[in-house]
């Protein structure tokens, strides 16, 4: 076990993948000498060379589109999109090419591409640097979408993503990059919990609280605070956003009868809607109350002096827990 930051854990996982498979190739803007704007690829170009860790021209569609060609040639590209808000110029290549090539060619062409995206807010950045675009990609068949919440998962899941023959969007919560945690680098990613499985991070019996990425930590803090008030909250880290691991969610909701889901992304059409609808379909008779969403607002990501209002914090999540439990809350008295 080693104490390391989230960013370092991803770096270590990337290093392992580069060592284990000569077909793994890293590409992105500033990932070489600089080590990436968040230093996630720090030192990798020095150790693996410019042909394995490639600084690309500043063109997101170009980065993804050339990765498609490299995959055609048998490579396993791992590309870095510098910031969440910069992924949109690459959207067409991701949803029209990366996602569909395997289907289009009836399985002849595999797209083992990993797209790393630092995402989410809370770091006081300007516009385009704090977005949560994950729902665009969970809506697209052919892609797998995961988000990591702690250094150990960051380490193993990046390796699982790279080893996957399917394309994977790997969302990294940038405000957690400097959080430290224990990482066991001897863990074999092949035998670790699959990136497709959700994890129960805290057991509870009164309400199921679902989170992913940056909000897992907030959700755990909320569960601790709720415990002080005598409410037992079960916290689930989704880990995989597409496909969602409904078996873990169902088991929890059947136990607690109540569901709260939280994410930074805007509410409408977001992942919370999918979780709420699917769980309602599957566990209707086990639910004691309607599922509750605690999310970002349906607004463009606000300037930094307002972001604390947009991002679900501990108190907003607790308010949501109260709604699910029918306890007094900010919306008490409101019909519908």
């Amino acid at each position: 076990m080693t104490q390391m930051t989230f960013a370092r854990a991803i770096n270590s996982g990337l290093r392992k993948s580069l060592e284990n498979d000569p077909k793994v190739i890293l590409m992105g803007e500033d990932i070489g000498a600089l080590g990436g704007v968040f230093r996630v690829t720090d030192g990798l170009q020095k150790d693996f060379g410019k042909h394995r860790v490639v600084d690309t021209p500043l063109a997101e569609s170009g980065i993804i589109g050339t990765a498609v060609g490299l995959a055609y040639r048998g490579y396993r590209p791992v590309v870095e999109i510098q910031f969440d808000g910069f992924i949109y110029p690459a959207f067409d290549q991701i949803v029209s090419q990366v996602a569909k090539m395997h289907y289009r060619t009836q399985g002849a062409v595999k797209m083992p591409i990993t797209i790393r995206v630092p995402f989410g807010g809370g770091i006081g950045s300007p516009e385009h640097h704090s977005e949560s675009p994950e729902a665009y990609f969970t809506h697209t068949s052919g892609l797998r979408v995961i988000s990591v919440s702690n250094p150990q998962d960051a380490y193993t899941m990046i390796q699982q993503a790279i080893a996957s023959d399917d394309p994977v969007l790997y969302f990294e919560p940038k405000r957690r990059y400097h959080d430290k945690g224990e990482v066991d680098e001897s863990v074999d990613p092949g035998s670790a919990l699959s990136m497709e499985k959700a994890r129960v991070v805290a057991e509870g019996k009164d309400v199921t609280l679902v989170a992913y990425g940056p909000l897992v930590k907030t959700a755990r803090d909320a569960a601790l605070a709720a415990a002080d008030e005598g409410v037992s909250v079960e916290v689930i880290d989704l880990r995989s956003l597409a496909p969602l691991d409904f078996s873990t969610l169902e088991a929890s909701v059947r136990k607690t009868g109540r569901l709260v889901i939280t994410h930074e992304a805007a509410q409408s059409g977001g992942l919370g809607a999918e979780v709420a609808a699917s769980i309602t379909e599957r566990c209707f008779y086990h639910l004691e109350a309607a599922p509750v969403r605690v999310t970002g607002f349906d607004v463009p990501y606000p300037y930094s002096k307002l972001e604390m209002h947009h991002l679900p914090g501990l108190d907003r999540i607790l308010d949501g827990v109260d709604r699910a439990l029918g306890r007094p809350n900010s919306l008490s008295g409101l019909e519908g």
Binding site: T56, S61, K100
Partner: protein, 392 residues
């Protein structure tokens, strides 16, 4: 010869035997080896790339061009008869496609657009596979690795990046094959084509950008895409270019060979503008009489690539009755094969809809497939149920 001229501040290229002019390409320098009247123009630089082209090979180029024109006509007829949903004709572009494709080596890899059926045919794609996607029986007709041709791309210009990435892989592998991107004049306006040229130049990737300037992007003329000749754009990226008569199969072949040779020997990318003309509609769904002048079509008909090669063969005394009969028989046979292959193409099974979305199982999709299977099973015969569903 087209020489790299990095010492002078960039790679440049120009007209044959006139490399000093290379950076002053402002038009009127269309490279041509066969005149519209079928006269062979001697050209010391280009001819050196065609020395192995025998009389027999000229006949075979002619055959390929006639056959793909026939494929085009047959597919258009099949569309009119309701057997295909759509077809994008290449009528008029036979020399560009056959001249370039015949220059390729087997291990070169082609990334084509939806119109490059002649290229695909030339690479060995089976004729019924050319129409599989247009019939709606599959998203794409063939396994790319059996013929080293990616499936045809519908998004405009997207494949230029795939070719460039593939070429970067070739470079990493230390191989000497080449990736070739085919696209049209409209695609040069797309960001992806421009990004592809940036990447290709930056990494000196072994890729050939083969642009068929057929003058029309559906209803939009090439002048709406570019204020300068398309070949001249390449120099802005540091990529040497050639502008060839795209209705001249020998000029196209020589230019492609030059570009491939440069790429194989570490010289990086080349941009070829093959100036040709789409004599038919963009696809069977549009009507060119709405947007273009009949006189324009007439002018270009006089430059027809097949008539031109035929005149050359005639001048050389090669247009024998035997050759014409053999070519006609081949075209008839291929057309019959295409028709039979289309009409007899089996429909996919209902549950094929779920196949190959992922390489590995996906719990969402497995559940949907399971539910839909149960739904189909509720009718007794799944195939019958799907038909009924479709008929509603």
């Amino acid at each position: 010869m087209f020489t790299d001229d990095a010492g002078k501040g960039g790679i440049s290229a120009g007209g044959p035997g006139n490399s000093d002019d290379s950076t002053r390409r402002t038009g009127g320098d269309l490279l041509q080896l066969i005149t519209p009247e079928g006269e062979r123009i001697s050209h010391p630089e280009f001819d050196s790339w065609l020395q192995d082209v025998s009389d027999e090979q000229l006949g075979s180029l002619y055959e390929d061009m006639v056959v793909i024109r026939r494929i085009d006509a047959e597919a258009t007829a099949l569309q009119r008869q309701g057997e295909l949903a759509l077809w994008p004709p290449l009528l008029g572009q036979e020399a560009s496609q056959i001249g370039s494709a015949r220059a390729l080596r087997e291990d070169d890899f082609v990334f084509p657009s939806y119109r490059d059926n002649g290229v695909a045919y030339c690479r060995g794609v089976k004729v019924e596979d050319l129409v599989r996607a247009w019939r709606g029986s599959a998203s794409a007709g063939w396994d790319p690795f059996t013929v080293n041709v990616a499936t045809q791309q519908i998004i405009i210009g997207s494949q230029s990046l795939h070719a460039t990435g593939y070429a970067m892989g070739i470079q990493n592998d230390g191989a000497d094959c080449v990736a070739v991107a085919y696209f049209g004049d409209g695609a040069t306006s797309e960001g992806d084509v421009n990004e592809a040229m940036v990447f290709a130049a930056s990494f000196q990737a072994p890729v050939v950008f083969f642009c068929q300037n057929n003058h029309w992007a559906i209803s939009e003329p090439v002048r709406l895409q570019s204020h300068i000749q398309l070949a001249d754009r390449a120099s802005g990226f540091g990529i040497p270019s050639m502008r060839v008569d795209g209705n001249d199969v020998l000029a196209v072949m020589a230019a492609t060979r030059i570009a491939l040779d440069r790429a194989r020997h570490g010289g990086g990318p080349t941009f070829i503008e093959a100036v040709t003309y789409r004599m038919g509609p963009h696809t069977t769904a549009d009507d060119p009489t709405r947007y273009r002048d009949a006189n324009e079509l007439e002018d270009w008909a006089a430059k027809d690539p097949i008539a031109r090669l035929k005149s050359l063969l005639d001048r050389k005394g090669l247009l024998t009755a035997e050759l014409e009969a053999a070519v006609a028989a081949k075209a008839d046979a291929v057309a019959a094969e295409l028709r039979a292959g289309t009409i007899n193409m089996p429909d996919p099974a209902p549950l094929d809809i779920f196949k190959h979305v992922y390489s590995t199982p996906n719990s969402w999709l497995d559940r949907q497939q399971d539910h839909y299977s149960r739904y189909l099973a509720s009718f007794g015969d799944p195939a019958e149920a799907a038909t009924e569903e479709g008929a509603r």
